[in-house]
Amino acid sequence: MHPAKSVIFFTTATGAGYGLLVALFAYSLLGEAPADNSFTWGAFFSAFFLIIAGLLSSTLHLGHPERAWRALSQWRSSWLSREGVAALFTFIPAGLFLYSWLTFGMTSIYTFLFGALTAILSLATVYCTAMIYVSLKAIPAWRNLWTLPVYLSFSIMTGTVLFNFLIELFDTALPSLTPAIFPYQSQFNWIHDLDYSLPNQRDLAEEREKITNEYQDALTKHEEKANQNHEKYQFLNDLLTATGDALVSTVEEFLGYFKFSEVRNMDELNPDKLEEDLQVDYPDGLLVIEAKGVGGTSTDSDCQQISKFRFRRAQERNSTDVFALYIVNHQR
C-alpha cells in the first residue's frame, strides 16, 4: 500500500477543510457572534484554501491531470467520481453560508439552512472519499468497518482542532499582537457596557447625540437652501452653455430678470412661423431678438437674418422704431 503523496495530502487537507466547515456550522448554532468578521473570513478562507489545494493536489498523481474533469462523469458507479461531484457541489452552499453569515448574521435562518447543507455535503464528500477505499474488496486493509468511521472522525477532528486554533488566533492572539487591525476585537469589550459606565458619561453621550442630530438637521436645511438657490440662478449658467430652444428660453428668462415685462417667445406663440425668436415691447419701440449657439464666428447670413426680420416688422408697424439684436453664444 503506497498511495501517492499528493493523494495523502489531498485526503488530509480536504478532510481538515470539510471538518472545519462542519465545525463552523456547529459554531453558528451556538449563536455567539464574534465581535467582527475577521474570524469568519479567516476560517472560511482556511477551509476553502485547504479544500482547493487538496483537490488540485489530487490531480497531480494522475497520468493525465488535464483530463481530470472526466472524473465527474461516472457518479452512477464510481465512488471516486461521486467524491469529485460532491466536492464541487459543496462549494455552492459553502459560499452561500459565508455570504449569509456576513450579510444576515450567524444566527439568521439562511445561515442555518446553508450551514446545514454545507455540513451535510461536507460529510458526504468525506464519506465518498472513505468509500473509495472501503469499496475495494481486493484490499482487506481498507475493506473493513474501521475505514469509514476513521475517515469521518479524522476529518471532524482535524477540522475542529483547526477551528480552535483559528478562534484563538483571531479572538485573542492577533488582537493582542496588533490591536490596531482588530479594533472591535477585545477580551475586555464588556467594559464598554452601560452597566460599567463612568459618572456623567451617559449624560455626555446623550448630549453628544443631541449635538450630532442638531448639526445634521442644520446641515440638511442648509443644503436644501443651497439647492434652491442653485435652481433659481441656473439660467445664468445655462446662458453660457445652452443652445437652440433652451438658449431662447434662457434669454427670455434673463430678460425677465432684467425687468423687461413685455417679452414674447415667438417660437412658442407661433411655432409654424420660423422668424425672430423673441420680441420685446419697450417705450421706444419694438426689439426683435435672434439667439443662437454657434461654435466659432457667425456667418454673414446668420447676422443678416435678424435685420431681414426687423424690416418685416417695421413694414408691418409702418414705423421705423424696430430694433434688432442678434445674441450669439459661442462659448459652447
Binding site: G63, R67, S73, Q74, S78, L80, K137
Partner: protein, 255 residues
C-alpha cells in the same frame, strides 16, 4: 459508462489455461508483448529495461510455484500464467471515474479507452488479480485486450484469429473460445477437467478459467506417459527369465 453492461449478449470470450501442462516457457508472455506493443495498445513501454530495476508493461505474467502432490506427496512445479480474466462483475470497470474502463456488451471483453483514461490507477487497486498494467510513459492504464485486434481481424486468416498467447503456446496449455456457451468445446473442456475460478470469494465472476494440475495416476494416464516408479518398487517381470536375470545382475539386485 462504467456500469457493467445491462444487456450482455451472453457471449463471453475467454481463455482457459491448463496448469497441468503449462511448462512455464514464457512464450505466451513474450509473444503477447510482441503483438500488443505493435497493436492498438502499443507501445507497451519499459522503464529501466537494461538497468538494475527493470519494469514494464506485460499483459501476461507467468508465476512459478513449487507444490506437493496431494495424492502421492511428490514435489512438482506448477507454472501459472496470469492475465486479465475479463470478469463478469469486473470491479476495475465500476470504480473507473471517467468511463474509460468498460466491458463490451457483445462479447464481454474488458477494455480501457486510452483517450479518456486519466491514469488514476484506482482500477489497479480494485483488481484482485493484479491484471492491470500502468504505462508510465503514456500515463494511462493498459490491459489484456483478448487480442481484440486479432480475433475480429479480417486481414488475418481464419485460424489466426485467436489471441496470440493461445496460438503461440508450444504445449497447447491455452485455449480460447466462448465460455458463455455451455456447448462450446472450451466449455466442455472446463466441465470435463473441473476448471475453476481464481479467487471466487472476490465475487468477480471471472470468465477465464484454469484447469487444475492433475495429480498422480490421473496425470500420467491422461498424458500417456509411463508412471514414475518409486525407488523400492521392483520392475514388472514382463521380460524373459534370462534377460530379467541379467537385468538384476547388472543393476546390483539380489539374484
Amino acid at each position: 459508462m462504467t456500469c457493467l453492461p445491462e444487456n450482455p449478449s451472453g457471449k463471453k470470450l475467454g481463455l482457459v489455461t491448463d496448469l497441468d501442462i503449462c511448462v512455464g516457457c514464457h512464450a505466451c508472455a513474450v509473444q503477447c508483448k510482441e503483438w500488443n506493443t505493435n497493436g492498438i495498445s502499443g507501445p507497451l513501454s519499459d522503464t529501466d529495461p537494461y538497468g538494475a530495476d527493470p519494469s514494464g508493461v506485460w499483459f501476461n505474467r507467468v508465476h512459478t510455484y513449487e507444490i506437493e502432490d496431494e495424492e502421492d506427496g511428490t514435489s512438482r512445479t506448477v507454472h501459472f500464467p496470469k492475465s486479465c480474466l475479463h470478469c463478469d462483475d469486473a470491479p476495475c470497470v465500476t470504480v473507473c471515474p471517467t468511463g474509460a474502463s468498460y466491458k463490451r456488451e457483445e462479447d464481454g471483453i474488458v477494455l480501457v479507452n486510452p483517450d479518456t483514461c486519466i491514469g488514476c490507477k484506482l482500477c489497479s487497486w480494485a483488481c484482485p488479480y493484479g491484471a492491470r498494467e500502468y504505462d508510465q510513459a503514456e500515463g494511462v492504464m493498459k490491459k489484456c485486450t483478448m487480442c481484440v485486434d486479432r480475433i475480429y481481424n479480417e486481414n488475418l486468416s481464419e485460424e489466426a484469429r485467436i489471441p496470440v498467447c493461445v496460438s503461440t503456446c508450444p504445449a497447447g496449455a491455452r485455449h480460447f473460445g466462448d465460455l458463455g456457451d455451455p456447448d462450446s468445446d472450451i466449455s466442455k473442456l472446463v466441465a470435463e477437467r473441473n476448471g475453476f475460478d481464481l479467487m471466487p470469494g472476490m465475487g468477480t465472476a471471472p470468465v477465464n478459467k484454469y484447469l487444475p494440475p492433475r495429480s498422480g495416476a490421473a496425470r500420467t494416464k491422461a498424458l500417456g506417459a509411463p508412471r514414475m516408479l518409486s525407488i523400492d518398487q521392483p520392475p514388472k517381470k514382463k521380460a524373459g527369465r534370462l534377460t530379467s536375470w541379467i537385468d538384476q545382475v547388472l543393476s546390483g539386485g539380489k539374484v
